[in-house]
């Protein structure tokens, strides 16, 4: 089978894009599978673009920025590193996997390296095969997208650096590992909650049905449901008769 991957790349204007340009000028050969979107800084890449890319039909997504310490905007690439790493974690939690997401650093003078990075990534995606957008995966990507769009994850990810470097409002210094643990826990919770919302959108479901569908313990499902009702995002289906309550989108 002649599978030609379609790869979306976000290149930062000052380093990665210039590096890619240099690769072109220097006539370094690399496979033509990437489609480039230029952004001013890798920090501009909103995590929500990544599930969007896979939903649109891409087989892999690549984000290239300046080397750490060299960002034209000082800290943009460091913020990108954090956001995209946590996005990768979310993809892993979702069962979609993060092997198809690449974050790397290419400087403006590294034409050869840009070509090499692309060559290696295209080869890797070729090995992984086409990204299959079956209904289950699509559902997961939609939930990922909704989670990354949501204020909770955005707030936690954004606040992270400050909490890691400074004290919180109570004057306490929390250990880095603990903060990351809390952030990852929140990401997981948000993802599951968004999956539940999307599930009940198509038809009202009972707690056990949701639990089976998502492969969760009933106890955990119930806590998520309570949380969602509290947030005002879920409601009860008033039309159904019978003893088992069914949940609907509020």
């Amino acid at each position: 089978m002649n599978f030609e991957p379609k790869i979306l790349s976000f290149l930062c204007n000052w380093c990665a894009y210039a590096g890619a340009d240099l690769a072109g000028i220097s006539r370094f050969q690399y496979p033509p599978n990437t489609r480039v979107i230029r952004v001013m800084c890798s920090g501009r890449v909103d995590p929500v673009f990544i599930p969007k890319a896979f939903l649109a039909g891409f087989d892999g997504t690549m984000i290239l920025g300046c080397h750490p310490g060299d960002c034209h905007y000082l800290t943009g690439n460091l913020q990108a590193e954090r956001k995209i790493r946590l996005t990768g974690k979310l993809f892993e939690m979702a069962g979609v996997g993060s092997a198809r997401i690449l974050l790397d650093w290419v400087s403006a003078g590294e034409g050869e390296r840009f070509a090499q990075v692309v060559r290696q990534f295209v080869e890797k995606i070729k090995q992984l095969g086409p990204f299959v957008l079956d209904p289950d995966t699509k559902e997961k990507l939609d939930a990922i997208r909704a989670s990354l769009d949501g204020e909770k994850i955005r707030w936690m990810v954004g606040k992270g650096p400050e909490l890691l470097e400074k004290e919180n409002v109570y004057g306490e210094r929390l250990p880095g590992a603990k903060i990351e643990e809390v952030v990852e826990g929140t990401i997981r919770d948000e993802f599951i909650k968004n999956r539940i919302i999307l599930l009940v959108e198509s038809k009202p479901l009972a707690a056990t049905e949701i639990s089976n569908r998502l492969n969760l313990r009933l106890k955990d499902t119930l806590s998520y449901l309570v949380s969602l009702i509290g947030d005002g995002k879920l409601g009860f289906d008033a039309s159904e008769e019978g003893r088992v309550p069914r949940y609907i989108r509020a």
């Binding site: 649109a56 955005r154 606040k159």
Partner: protein, 409 residues
């Protein structure tokens, strides 16, 4: 003072804010340089020029309470002798200086025979009788510098030690002076003074970080042992004067750095935008840096850096306007909840939360925004757009680039 004079000569009004009751800072306590300049004369001449210049407003005994605004539009609140004063200005030059660290090593403060180089210079000039009788002088370099807690070199102390050694030799040729050093850095043209010191019979003994000199009081004598790296043996000295080259440390710049929203490096000095390409700028537009506040350096280097800061500051102000980038951020006040995350994350202090009729909202400072997009991709409410790189524009590119869509499985 040099920066103020530079700005004034180019036709700009400026305010010189000094925390002490007199101008001059560290310069007041330096008398000569290694090359033989008359520093007190320089100080007096410069002060005279500053006070004579009608464009320079001098505030002594003054403290900066608050600095608001951005390039071209700063408002600073001062407390001058306790009284409040407001000053409007277009740029800021940070030249708050640094100081000699008070050592806690080598019996400093416990024995009157242990001095710092600063103390020594004071005595040479004003109380020669106290040290004129000293016959065996040991100077220890790198006291508090180039150690794990303070890894930087204080740059000028080798030159100062050689300077003071030569001064003592001049007045008391019989004095035996030994300088214990880790690396001798009388850099540039000053190397010739090091050669001269050796010719005049000053001893130089190299030591290592893992075998530092040991100074004890064995009443009534001071007993110093050090492992000579070249000899490979322990040398014992009984000095009647020990002079420490103490590190140059920054003042507590935390408060000022917070007010200006500029960064400090890990040693507490102000951090410039780029070490090679923008050495006197801060990342935030309109704020400039010179002198010891940036890093230990000699008087001539401070003067040169002040001139550089003036060049940058006047370049920023000369046009009379600031060209704003088209690719800047914009906040939708309907969506913004004033959480302030964008203000925390912006590397250029170009977005800030302000009070509006509808409560706290974020607002872009167009003059400072560089268009990186960090705020936009971080905003929890997705309230921030970057002109020409909006979410919609980028999403549309994603859709366009896929070309022929795949068949749904």
């Amino acid at each position: 003072m040099r920066a103020a004079l530079g700005l004034a000569r180019q036709g700009f009004e400026c305010a010189l804010v000094e925390k002490e009751s007199e101008l001059g800072g560290n310069l007041r306590e330096i008398y000569t340089t290694l090359e033989g300049n008359d520093v007190q004369n320089l100080l007096q001449e410069t002060m005279k020029e500053v006070y004579a210049n009608p464009r320079i407003q001098v505030f002594t005994h003054a403290q900066v309470k608050q600095i608001n605004g951005y390039v071209g539009n700063f408002v600073t609140h001062l407390a001058v002798n306790g009284a409040e004063k407001e000053y409007e200005h277009g740029v800021v030059v940070v030249a708050v200086g640094g100081k000699e660290r008070t050592p806690n090593e080598y019996l400093y403060g416990q024995d009157r025979r242990v001095l710092t180089q600063r103390d020594l210079e004071e005595k040479i000039v004003h109380h020669w009788e106290e040290i004129g009788t000293c016959q065996r002088i040991v100077m220890i370099q790198c006291v508090g510098s180039r150690i794990p807690e303070r890894p930087y070199c204080s740059r000028i102390c080798c030159s100062v030690a050689v300077k003071n050694a030569l001064k003592i030799k001049e007045k008391n040729p019989a004095a035996e002076i030994t300088i214990l050093y880790r690396d001798m850095r009388t850099f540039g043209m000053m190397e010739r003074f090091y050669t001269e010191a050796r010719k005049r019979g000053v001893f130089f003994i190299p030591y290592d970080l893992d075998s530092e000199p040991d100074l004890r009081l064995e009443d009534p004598l001071l007993h110093l042992t050090v492992r000579d790296k070249i000899l490979g043996e322990e040398v014992t000295l009984e000095p009647d004067l020990v002079v420490l080259a103490s590190a140059i440390v920054p003042y507590d710049n935390e408060a000022l750095a917070k007010m200006l929203k500029v960064p400090l490096n890990s040693n507490g000095f102000f951090l410039e935008a780029h070490a090679k390409l923008r050495p006197v700028d801060f990342a935030t537009d309109g704020i400039f840096l010179a002198g010891l506040a940036h890093y230990p350096k000699s008087i001539s280097e401070c003067i040169a850096q002040a001139d550089a800061a003036v060049a940058r500051a006047t370049a920023a102000m000369a046009k009379g306007y600031v060209t704003v980038l088209p690719t800047i951020s914009e906040v939708d006040p309907e969506r913004c909840i004033g959480c302030g995350l964008c203000e925390i994350l912006c590397p250029f202090s170009a977005i800030r939360v302000v009070e509006t009729e509808k409560g706290k909202k974020s607002e872009t400072i167009a003059a400072s925004c560089k268009g990186c997009g960090i705020c936009s991709s971080s905003c929890p409410q997705k309230a921030i757009t970057i002109h020409h790189f909006s979410d919609e524009q980028l999403m549309v590119q994603i859709d366009a680039l896929i070309g022929e869509k795949k068949e749904a499985a």
